[in-house]
């Protein structure tokens, strides 16, 4: 349903079963015909509800994107309307759309990167059994299963400049001069070795939140993959004198790469479309406006349905293009993951 939910792992279909029993020709075809009818009957409720609530709405979005529909004139708009490209030209040339698109990309790429790196570190650190490992693993999954609204609320309280615990410690113990407005400051300058660097504070904070919330997902998948690597490879390498980093670099990492590739696609898709996290943390302010938040604002605040539909469509098309390009380049190796 959304980035919030655990994923269904992508995997190959097992080959279609042919009936192994040699039944008489006549009886088999009757049974096959009955099966086909039963199958259609059993699948049709889901098919109908998905068709009506997902597929048709998508088609309708396309239609809406080419019409001048506003919440106010909604009741008078039909399927046959005045179709034009006006929404697209307006949206693509409007101020802020390109910025939002860039922000979305940065957010998705960095969020995915942080989540997968943390997940990898966690999976490797917990590879060797120890007492209580099961409990630690379960605990590390909490950020992922917890409701996003509660998690975002706790984070924004923790980061609050007035009474948040992070700023309290930062100013009290770490010697920060001023509390940092993590969620409402577009840019701060950080002096590092005498050089003043501009830092997009709020954007980094929402990326950190995304990394925190999604690393358990990567951790889960990488742990499963690690457990499937036969121990003999590493034992042999150890006997040949390979050090731990060499064993990781040449034995473990190559085995994990296909999983990492799949994870990158999944996490990128979900982060790219993410609405909840940013809406809840910053409301899209302070340089964190991503396209999905913009779509929501056009839809609700401005009631401009046509423009909202056009932007959602542009977002989906860009995503589809990016994922297709990625799969073209890396698709071969991934299919077995």
């Amino acid at each position: 349903m959304s980035p919030g939910g655990p994923a269904v792992p992508v995997q190959d279909r097992p080959p279609t079963r042919e009936s192994p029993v040699a039944t008489p020709r006549h009886g088999r075809s009757t049974r096959a015909r009955q099966d086909a009818r039963t199958g259609l009957a059993l699948i049709s409720p889901t098919f109908v509800i998905v068709l009506v609530m997902v597929v048709l709405p998508i088609v309708w979005t396309v239609s809406l994107a080419f019409q001048q529909v506003r919440l106010l004139n909604l009741r008078t708009t039909g399927i046959v309307g005045d179709y034009s490209l006006d929404n697209f030209t307006a949206v693509l040339t409007s101020s802020g759309f390109v910025d939002a698109l860039v922000t979305t990309l940065v957010y998705a790429v960095c969020g995915t990167g942080v989540a997968i790196s943390l997940g990898l570190v966690a999976a490797l650190a917990l590879r060797q059994p120890f007492r209580g490992r099961g409990l630690v693993r379960a605990a590390l999954l909490l950020p992922y299963v917890a409701p996003v609204v509660a998690a975002a609320f706790v984070w924004s309280t923790m980061l609050n400049p007035q009474y948040g615990v992070v700023n309290e410690w930062g100013t009290g113990l770490l010697g920060w001069n001023d509390p940092i407005a993590f969620l409402s400051s577009r840019s701060d300058s950080l002096s590092l070795l005498g050089v003043e660097l501009p830092v997009p504070t709020a954007l980094l904070t929402v990326i950190a939140f995304e990394g925190w919330r999604s690393f358990p997902f990567a951790f889960l998948f990488l742990t499963a993959r690690l457990e499937a690597i036969p121990e003999t490879y590493e034992e042999a390498a150890k006997l040949d004198g390979a050090t731990p980093t060499q064993r990781f670099r040449h034995i473990v990492l190559p085995q994990l790469l296909p999983t990492i590739a799949v994870l990158s696609v999944l996490r990128f898709i979900w982060t790219f479309n993410n609405f909840d996290d940013i809406w809840l943390l910053t409301g899209g302010g302070a340089g964190t406006e991503v396209v999905s938040v913009r779509v929501y604002n056009f839809l609700i605040a401005r009631g401009d349905i046509g423009a909202a539909a056009a932007q959602a469509l542009v977002l989906a098309v860009i995503l589809a293009v990016l994922v297709t390009v990625y799969l073209r380049f890396f698709g071969r190796g991934e299919e077995r993951a």
Binding site: M1, S2, G4, G5, V8, V10, Q11, P14, D35, A36, T38, G39, L40, I43, P45, T46, V50, M53, V54, P57, I58, T61, L64, V69, V121, A125, Q128, V136, A139, L140, L141, L142, V145, A146, P147, V149, A150, A151, F153, T157, M158, Q162, G164, V165, E168, G172, P216, T223, G241, T243, P244, T245, N273, F275, L299, I305, A309, A312, R336, A337
Partner: protein
């Protein structure tokens, strides 16, 4: 020094470094993962002025624990509370309704996709998988317009229908993988004994698939309970129909409700999920990674 001894030295050094780093990393990750939840519970026990006096405190003495926040957040609006009891009822209705309806359509559907060869089977399962990757925000626009037009906006039933549509496609995918692992020979034996297809499904396959169905039910419950975007889109103007997620997010925007009271609300929102998660963790994680292990 020969290559071999140099390698051995490097090996010892790396192993020593890792044996120090590993526990540090584990502790660091645990702190990062758990601290926000600890902070949530901690703040929910403190009155607001107590927090403002001492924002850095990481401990609340037993004598100062104040459960008034929970009373405030749960009590109905007309007696001065925030009405979370109503929100809990709404969330429960929607989440349980989604579980029941989604399983009712998805279990037979998954069986059909796994076992029966019918026209368009491959296309239909591909479509269901694609639903999982559709951006919700792309669906938000047309569904909002559609619901506004037919007057379903603001009703819990409307929300329920959207959840069922999105979740049942995914459930079919998950359950089908499980049905695929049940040996067909069991079903054939029953068929030879004169069972009809539906009889086979009911008496043989469903009982065998129970673990998967239960973990799927929990998964659906979590999704529906945690969902935010569609609740925000459809229920915003009807406070009596708010879900817990929506209620918490709306009230946290207003300055009139004390933060610590809302922390109690956060605990109420999070607790059912964590309890369910720990009850079912083994099933759930096993089911979720079933595909990844195939390598």
């Amino acid at each position: 020094m020969s290559d071999r001894t140099r390698g051995a030295v490097r090996n010892t050094m790396e192993e020593r470094a890792l044996s120090v780093l590993r526990p540090l990393i584990i502790v660091g990750l645990l702190l990062a993962a758990l601290f926000p939840f600890y902070y949530m519970v901690l703040l929910s026990f403190r009155p607001l002025n107590n927090l403002l006096d001492d924002p850095g405190a990481l401990w609340v003495p037993l004598s100062e624990i104040d459960l008034g926040t929970y009373r405030d957040v749960l009590a109905p609006v007309d007696s001065g509370g925030q009405g979370f009891l109503t929100f809990i009822r709404n969330s429960m209705l929607v989440a349980l309704g989604t579980v029941v309806l989604a399983l009712l359509v998805a279990v037979p559907g998954a069986y059909a996709v796994s076992r029966l060869r019918f026209f368009g089977r491959r296309q239909i399962s591909a479509m269901f998988l694609a639903v999982y990757f559709f951006p919700s925000i792309l669906l938000a626009v047309p569904l909002f317009v559609f619901y506004t037009r037919i007057g379903l906006r603001g009703s819990l039933v409307g929300l329920l229908i959207v959840y069922v549509a999105q979740v049942s496609a995914v459930s079919i995918y998950m359950l089908r993988n499980y049905f695929d692992t049940i040996p067909e020979s069991l079903e054939e034996a029953a068929a030879i004994d004169g069972c009809t297809r539906l009889g086979v499904m009911r008496h043989i396959s469903l009982p065998l698939a129970m673990p998967a169905i239960v973990s799927n039910a929990l998964f659906i419950f979590m999704i529906a309970w945690n969902e935010f975007l569609f609740a925000l889109l459809f229920l915003l103007e009807r406070r009596e129909n708010w879900t817990v997620s929506l209620g918490l997010s709306r009230l946290s925007g207003s300055i009139e409700v004390p933060t610590t009271t809302l922390m109690a609300g956060s605990v109420i929102l999070t607790l059912p999920i964590i309890v369910l998660f720990f009850l079912s963790e083994r099933w759930l994680t096993g089911g979720l990674t079933a595909g990844a292990e195939k390598g």
